[in-house]
């Protein structure tokens, strides 16, 4: 999940009877599973919440290029390099679809980037962790993309049309990302002792941060209840986390790797694994800027934006000149 702890401005979820006629008609459309399109009426809080959620997701895609970019120049074979380049290109493309989806809600990409750069908008906590060895690139695909897919598959059914369509495209590519990650892990886990050590080390470091991606338990959260009523959130964080653990544990076993959790145990009664919660204090520290790479990640994005100002200004100036020349040519011709 690339959006965490998205606020809705709601203090509680209201019943249909408490809503205005507009709101009620809107909620009934959502309940019937209809898609809401950009120019149609929507509650202001729905629009704002979607901007926060889609914006956070878009930011995560572009910041997410950085930990993988850290290994593109050191990828061990030409094929791995090509696959990683294709993946990072996809991610930048996902960022683009999502910023476009957000623009349909009346916020520009530049405005959203300004909020990211000033620290007012967040990106997923996971990208504040470093990629220290090559197996981390495998773990990012297997676990991080795996966790993201859990949520994004559900969001294909979300109520907002442009967001839903972006998710459908994104999901097609994400499943390839997860497979390539798992493929790296298979090679590493079956490789030399040093490779196997890298693979286990990567799993040790990425396991709990991946569980954090779903956000803290939100069974009692008003924001989550409101988002679920609007169908911009489909499952609770705990449901998705459970599903992720149940899917991932057998995959780790197949690799011959050990999930770093002594309490991990199959629970016959619930038909899923019992597992340890991640350290939520660490999660809040990371969210608040104290993760191992927060400064580097945001710093890199701000630097790219600042260093690129002359480039963007140059293109804009050229576009204006070209338009002026076209206008002058038209006048001359008349």
């Amino acid at each position: 999940m690339y959006a965490q702890m998205v606020k809705t401005d709601a203090d509680r979820v209201r019943s249909l009877d408490e809503m205005s006629a507009h709101e009620r008609a809107f909620q009934e459309r959502v309940d019937r599973g209809e898609k809401i399109e950009p120019k149609e009426w929507m509650p202001e809080a729905y629009r704002k919440t979607l901007i926060r959620q889609i914006g956070q997701h878009a930011h995560s895609e572009i910041v997410g290029q950085l930990p993988e970019g850290n290994w593109i120049t050191r990828a061990p074979t030409l094929e791995r390099k090509a696959i990683l380049l294709a993946k990072v290109q996809d991610e930048a493309g996902h960022g683009l679809y999502l910023y476009c989806a957000a623009e349909t809600l009346g916020v520009s990409r530049d405005e959203l980037l300004a909020l990211l750069h000033s620290g007012k908008m967040k990106y997923s906590s996971i990208f504040n962790y470093p990629t220290l060895n090559w197996a981390d690139i495998g773990a990012v695909g297997w676990l991080v993309d795996g966790a993201a897919i859990m949520n994004q598959v559900q969001l294909q059914k979300t109520s907002y049309g442009p967001y839903s369509r972006a998710m459908i495209r994104i999901c097609k590519e994400e499943s390839f990302h997860q497979r390539q990650g798992y493929d790296i892990m298979m090679k590493m886990a079956a490789g030399s002792p040093e490779q196997k050590r890298m693979a286990q080390d990567a799993l040790n470091r990425f396991w709990y941060p991946s569980l954090m991606m779903f956000g803290p338990s939100d069974a009692d959260s008003v924001h989550s209840a409101q988002s679920m009523a609007w169908k911009i959130k489909i499952n609770t964080n705990d449901e998705l986390r459970q599903k992720f653990v149940d899917q991932t544990v057998p995959q780790a076993k197949y690799l011959g790797l050990t999930i770093p959790d002594e309490n991990l145990k199959w629970n016959e009664e619930k038909g899923g694994y019992d597992f340890s919660e991640p350290d939520w204090d660490e999660f809040f520290e990371v969210i608040n800027g104290n993760g191992p790479c927060n400064k580097e990640r945001l710093g890199a994005r701000v630097k790219a934006w600042e260093d690129g100002r002359w480039f963007r200004d140059g293109l804009n100036a050229h576009a204006e000149k070209a338009a002026a020349r076209r206008a002058a040519a038209k006048i001359a011709a008349e």
Binding site: I62, L66, P76, A92, Q195, G308
Partner: protein
């Protein structure tokens, strides 16, 4: 079958030619990939990753064929990751550091314009394998050139600052273009066999394309005709050793592994 299909040219010359092709795309692809996530605008992140991906794909084909013809059991990966700088045959311009985005774009444009001319001729190569790779690569490079030429024009004829940066990039890189068109004995043997054009014959069409774009960009071609040379003989800049140290790290530190 490891010998060159063309009896008129030695196996060594053929391998040498293919290494020149594949090493230039590999090193430029590496440089371009260094931008990942750091470019001035999202569309450029996508374009750069795409360009690097094309170049790495072309590398796989050129070095793959080089290894096959060499017949010593070296595949494209072994050639890419287990040779030292002295055995690399890339043009010096491809190893120039990225600098600012203007430098990266100008390097790309100067190389793309040459690359496009070269691949156009290689499509008609007497060696069917070369012609086949060139035909595939040319489709990709046509896009590279379209993009880099367009951006050079827009930034040259943009703001004062963007023009200044693009002119500075052209001034700095110009001395690395001459090498692309100076033939040596290998080039001449390869050209005589009809496998590739003589590099000297590419200069006029390259210059024509170049001049048209640079004129639209309001940029001036430097007067100097001095050409830095050495790439074809394995005499590189200091930069290449560092690039290879990074690129080859895993293969060197953990030899013989499967990745």
């Amino acid at each position: 079958m490891s010998a060159s299909a063309n009896p008129q040219v030695s196996q060594e010359a053929m391998v040498e030619f293919l290494l020149r092709m594949g090493d230039s795309t590999l090193i430029l692809g590496h440089r371009v990939s260094e931008w990942c996530g750091h470019s001035p605008v999202l569309e450029e992140d996508i374009a750069l990753a795409n360009t690097a991906l094309d170049l790495i794909g072309q590398t796989q084909m050129w070095l793959g064929l080089a290894g096959e013809i060499e017949g010593k059991g070296r595949d494209a990966d072994k050639l890419a990751f287990l040779r030292d700088a002295v055995d690399f045959r890339n043009a010096l311009i491809t190893e120039r550091p990225n600098g600012d985005f203007g430098m990266t774009l100008m390097r790309q444009f100067l190389f793309d314009a040459y690359h496009f001319q070269l691949l156009g001729k290689l499509e008609g190569s007497s060696d069917a394998r070369v012609a086949e790779i060139a035909a595939k690569a040319k489709k990709e490079v046509a896009y590279h050139l379209e993009r880099s030429a367009d951006l050079v024009i827009r930034l040259g004829d943009g703001t004062d600052e963007s023009r200044k940066r693009m002119q500075a990039a052209l001034d700095e890189l110009w001395g690395y273009t001459g090498e692309l068109f100076i033939p040596d004995a290998v080039d001449e043997a390869i050209a005589a066999a009809g496998i590739a054009p003589n590099p000297a014959d590419l200069r006029a069409p390259w210059l024509a394309e170049m001049s048209a774009v640079l004129q639209d960009a309001t940029l001036k071609i430097p007067a100097s005709t001095y050409a830095h040379k050495g790439g074809k003989k394995g005499v590189h800049s200091e930069y290449l050793g560092h690039l290879l140290a990074q690129m080859q790290f895993l293969q060197r530190a953990y030899p013989g592994c499967t990745w």
